[in-house]
């Protein structure tokens, strides 16, 4: 994958490319860096195959299907087909809060600078910025507003539990 921004222990790093490859569908002779779609990955697990600890979630996949196998995963990518489709935010929330997923969580697809802080607050810690956009420029979108009222994945307490107003 290309145009990567990763946040690790509050440090932001830009990586031009890493070795991971999104596979549209399952096939024979999978490479060691291929990321299967969630449904295909689940089918492989069911068969007892030894697969990569990585998968990608499509816009209409239900992340809760990963409930029993979440500990087998260390890298999950969530697809944004269109940045105006906000399902991926709830997917990230569920992975982090409901399934307690601790590994890397990456947004890819129509991923743009102006939504990165929202994605970060919902639990994403890595982003494959849309092709053609400058990932260095996109890092400006990570911080977002310094005040947030509601709680979120990154800050579970709402403002009224955080500060004395």
């Amino acid at each position: 994958m290309k145009n990567i921004i990763r946040i690790q222990s509050n440090e932001v790093a830009v990586v031009k490319a890493d070795n991971w490859i999104i596979s549209e569908e399952d096939h024979d002779a999978l490479g060691s860096c291929e990321i299967l779609p969630m449904k295909a990955w689940l089918a492989r697990i069911k068969q007892g195959d030894d697969v990569n600890p990585a998968l990608w979630i499509d816009v209409d996949d239900d992340a809760m299907e990963l409930q029993d196998v979440i500990e087998k995963l260390s890298f999950i990518c969530v697809f944004f087909e269109d940045f105006k489709d906000g399902r991926g935010y709830s997917t990230a929330y569920l992975l982090r809060k409901r399934l307690n997923y601790q590994g890397e969580l990456r947004a890819f697809g129509d991923v743009l600078r102006d939504q990165l802080s929202l994605m970060r607050q919902c639990g994403f810690d890595s982003f494959a910025i849309k092709e053609g956009k400058d990932p260095y420029d996109a890092t400006k979108g990570i911080k977002g507003l310094s005040v947030t009222y509601s709680g979120s994945v990154s800050q579970p307490n709402p403002l009224y539990r955080r500060v004395r107003r």
Binding site: Y89, S90, V147, Y149, P158, Y160
Partner: protein, 552 residues
């Protein structure tokens, strides 16, 4: 009223600078229009027929006099000297330059206002009734929870790209004056037998192409759990709401396709996972916000004021205005004043900068510096001592705002329509004006209280479905036509109106509306309201009257 603290102020100021940068990037081509669109919408900026329009939030319809003056400054400096108050307690400025928008937002921030989430597929301005805090029939001030919900929903990262817009309204009075039943989430706040505050939560209301009243999902939600419950509803909506068709994307469609029982189960299952944790409201937070809505220091006054009584008996014009505009107040010697923005002298919802100034001055002089916006597009001075009502009326006369028509035929609710709006299929203002002009004030008083709502398109910004008489503008081969519904009602007995028959031409519309109100006059028993008569006699007599020799 709610005053910003350092956190509110920091958020709004940072948001202005964020948008300033986004506008600059749009103007230099770094952002495409497609990328910019939801950013500008979530900052209140629409592109209309002739120019950009900015919609500014007036949370739960409450304004200070200073804020009203600030809006007048924006109207003069950045627009053509006026603004339009909407049915969702916002104000719209119609003639805005894109390059000016960051400065407008900065000006708003300086008066503790913003345009955040007044548009876009997110939680919109939380509304309540204009008489909150002063109405005698109120159980608890609904603005307190409206403000708490507003804060929770503002830039809440998970819920900014929902399938469709999302509207929440709160009411806590015997008579629902906030049109709660047509909201995506409607909240009735009440005290149970132990005096504990609880909510009845209703989900899935909305007008537009497929009108629905919302349905009860939970009857006895404890006040401290209102945010987690809304969160559960929104998460279910965000995950399962339709995204393939704009007209089927509102939560009402999800509620009705799942059925209310299954929908409730989904929400409850989600809620069980999150209740009792971080988003449970605390007593501290409730009392902090509540302390911002304390009543002003009312004087001890006599209920009756001699001078006021004298003016009423000696000045028939004043008396006529009083009978329509002066509303009861919970404190002895005080009244609330409704100010009509309607025909014949005004355009529904529109106020000039001069009129805004006048209202701000009146609020300063007599009314604790506060002003409210109603969802009927009128304004309210909520706390006026009766002894000053005459002074208020005289000043309103000077700026053409002393119309004695609140609640009457000519107090129509009207969207801007094809004169401004891209979505509109027909004109609204000029046609509504003709309908209003078909009645003398005596005829209007004879008809009495009635709601007539006219929308210029199916999106129903004027809420035509819940008007006693609803009028919907359509386009038939290049000509404006108007479809009429009868039997709509708002409040606790909300009802969606029924279409009476084929749409009528612009020319015939005033005649047909008058035939409908004549049918009401001919059929009403004693003091029956229009809606009561409709419930008793049904649609047929209105239908017959409307098309009788109308040539329609």
């Amino acid at each position: 009223m709610y005053r910003y603290d350092e956190y509110d102020r920091a958020l709004v100021n940072e948001r202005v600078e964020e948008f300033r940068d986004q506008v600059a990037r749009r103007m230099n081509g770094e952002l495409t229009e497609d990328e910019f669109l939801p950013l500008r919408l979530q900052n209140g900026l629409y592109l209309q027929k002739h120019a950009y329009m900015m919609r500014v939030a007036i949370p739960y319809g409450a304004l200070s006099s200073d804020q009203m003056r600030g809006l007048a400054v924006i109207a003069n400096k950045f627009d053509r000297g006026y603004g339009h108050f909407t049915t969702r307690q916002n104000i719209q400025f119609n003639w805005i330059e894109l390059a000016d928008t960051p400065d407008i937002l900065a000006h708003l921030a300086s008066i503790d206002m913003h345009a955040i989430q007044t548009s876009g597929n997110c939680v919109r301005n939380v509304t309540t009734e204009a008489y909150a805090g002063v109405a005698p029939d109120e159980e608890y001030d609904p603005r307190i929870f409206a403000e708490i919900i507003r804060q929770w929903a503002t830039v809440n990262p998970e819920f900014l790209f929902l399938p469709r817009k999302f509207k929440i309204a709160v009411s806590s009075s015997q008579e629902d004056r906030a049109a709660v039943r047509m909201h995506d989430i409607g909240l009735y706040l009440y005290r149970d037998k132990e005096e504990t505050l609880r909510f009845q939560v209703m989900v899935g209301g909305g007008l537009g192409r497929t009108p629905f009243l919302n349905k009860a999902v939970k009857d006895d939600l404890h006040w401290s759990e209102v945010l987690s419950y809304i969160e559960a509803v929104l998460r279910v909506f965000n995950r399962y709401g339709r995204r393939d068709n704009k007209y089927k994307a509102r939560i009402k469609i999800l509620v009705n396709s799942l059925g209310i029982g299954d929908f409730r189960e989904e929400v409850e299952a989600e809620w069980r996972q999150i209740r009792g944790s971080f988003s449970t409201l605390t007593e501290d937070e409730l009392s902090r916000v509540a302390s911002q809505f304390l009543s002003p220091l009312y004087s001890t006054l006599d209920d009756a004021n001699l001078e006021y009584g004298h003016h009423v008996t000696s000045n028939s014009e004043f008396a006529a205005w009083v009978s329509r505009s002066v509303k009861p107040h919970k404190v002895k010697g005080y009244a609330s004043v409704a100010i009509s923005t309607k025909f014949p002298t005004n355009t529904p919802g529109d106020l000039t900068a001069e009129q805004m100034q006048c209202i701000a001055d009146l609020a300063d002089a007599y009314g604790f510096r506060v002003i409210r916006i109603t969802h009927e597009q009128n304004l309210v001075l909520p706390d006026i001592p009766k002894e000053y009502l005459f002074n208020v009326w005289e000043s309103l006369c000077e700026v053409g705002l002393a119309l004695p028509n609140v609640g009457l035929v000519s107090d129509m609710i009207v969207c801007p329509g094809a004169s401004y709006c891209n979505l509109a299929t027909a004109h609204s203002f000029p046609v509504a004006k003709k309908v209003a002009a078909a009645y003398s004030i005596e005829e209007q008083l004879e008809v009495g209280d009635i709601s007539i709502n006219l929308s210029g398109c199916i999106n129903a910004c004027a809420h035509h479905h819940i008007g006693n008489i609803g009028i919907l503008g359509l386009n038939k081969s290049g000509e404006d036509y108007y479809q009429i519904t009868v039997g709509g009602a708002q409040g606790k007995d909300s009802q969606i109106g029924k279409v009476i028959g084929p749409a009528v031409s612009e020319e015939l519309l005033p005649v047909v509306v008058k035939k409908i109100t004549n049918a009401y006059l001919a059929n009403r028993n004693d003091k029956e309201t229009f809606h009561e008569t409709f419930l008793r006699i049904g649609l047929e007599p209105f239908k017959l009257a409307a098309y009788e020799s109308a040539g329609a």
